[in-house]
Amino acid sequence: MAHEHKLEIFRGLIKFKSNIQKIWGVLLLLSIVTAVEVALGIIKPDFLTQSYFLGMKLLNWIFIILTLVKAYYITWDFMHMRDEKSSLRRVVVWTPIFLVAYLVFILLFEGTYIFQVFKDGFLSWNF
């Protein structure tokens, strides 16, 4: 909507001269993040796959966090969320985050429970 763009990313650590320059800067950032993800996915360092946090491998946590970082920059800079009013930003961002967090929690909890039933229960399925 507005023609003015906020040209700072990283909370003002980097300030671009023009909107076009910011777009290329964000592309560079997204490419680096993707390259790191792919490299980690191919190498799969042992210290990341052997250690767990909240029942999930550290490597998978890194993947998910990097994904959220990418999602943030796509929404904020490509979809111009940075330039929208804070009310629009909150409506669009927090509604799905709340609903998805709820759904994911329920389904993964239930999935773990069924896994236990299949594993320890008197039920044969792996034959």
Partner: protein, 324 residues
Amino acid sequence: MDATVTTGSDENVWGGGNRPLGASYGKLMMWFFIVSDALTFSGFLAAYGFSRFKFMETWPIADEVFTHVPFFHGNYPMYYVAFMTFVLIMSSVTMVLAVDAGHKMKKNAVIWYMFATIIGGLIFVGSQAWEWATFIKGDFGALETKGGRILQFVNAETGERAAIADFAKVIPGERTLHENSNGIWYQEEGTRTTFNLNEVVEGFKANPGLLIRTETITEEGEKTLLNRQESLDKLTQAVRVVEGANLIRNEYGSRLFADFFFFITGFHGFHVFSGVVINIIIFFNVILGTYERRGHYEMVEKVGLYWHFVDLVWVFVFTFFYLV
């Protein structure tokens, strides 16, 4: 830029003149759509997570499933998907550049950036079609047990996967074609695999250098490799040969994996496809000068939102299907 439609009379606060979100009607509606579509995709991905947690110890390892790059032979996990991701991000960049050029009313720049975006979208959809074709075709072939579990073959010396086509014994035999007149009329003949179960089993017995790999994942995060005796025991439980993947069974492991793969990447691919179609429509409108006459390029901005959303979804699909 102001809303496209203004009727003048309802500019007071209670008549709709108040604009708390400061965005035009069209853009707000696009955000509405994006939020609901995001929830749809989240539902699919959460269901995928549910099924995966349910079969945590037997789920296929994505690195071993998607190993191909067009025009290259060998084992290249992930490289092609990474390329696809980059193509989609790149087309997002050209889209946002088109929006920027639209703000400055540079018609020719918008045309060229839209064109680049469409090409990027087409490359992505084409890559996905190729990925599907490769997945459906399969590469090594496997056996399925009565319980619906997949048994794959490994060369004991090299530790590499062995294709059934390389060791199966050709056993000549008679086979009656299933026809309506001689069989059950409502049943189809079905698709036959290259080798039948007996040929694969005999071929395995004749090759002492072969072992069977089950679906179960070990502590080290690899599939369980049986020894020769266990393999021969396991072989007696096999009921059919599986080549490639479809919605009913697949040679990569858990059937749900293929179902979700087809469903989620298919749904996303359909979004990319419709995005390309919408982009083409807007592209021609730009060429015809529709937005030049209208005085602003907000339509480009709106399809831009949709296009970035498609990219956003892919970022998540990429993580949960190929990385995690």
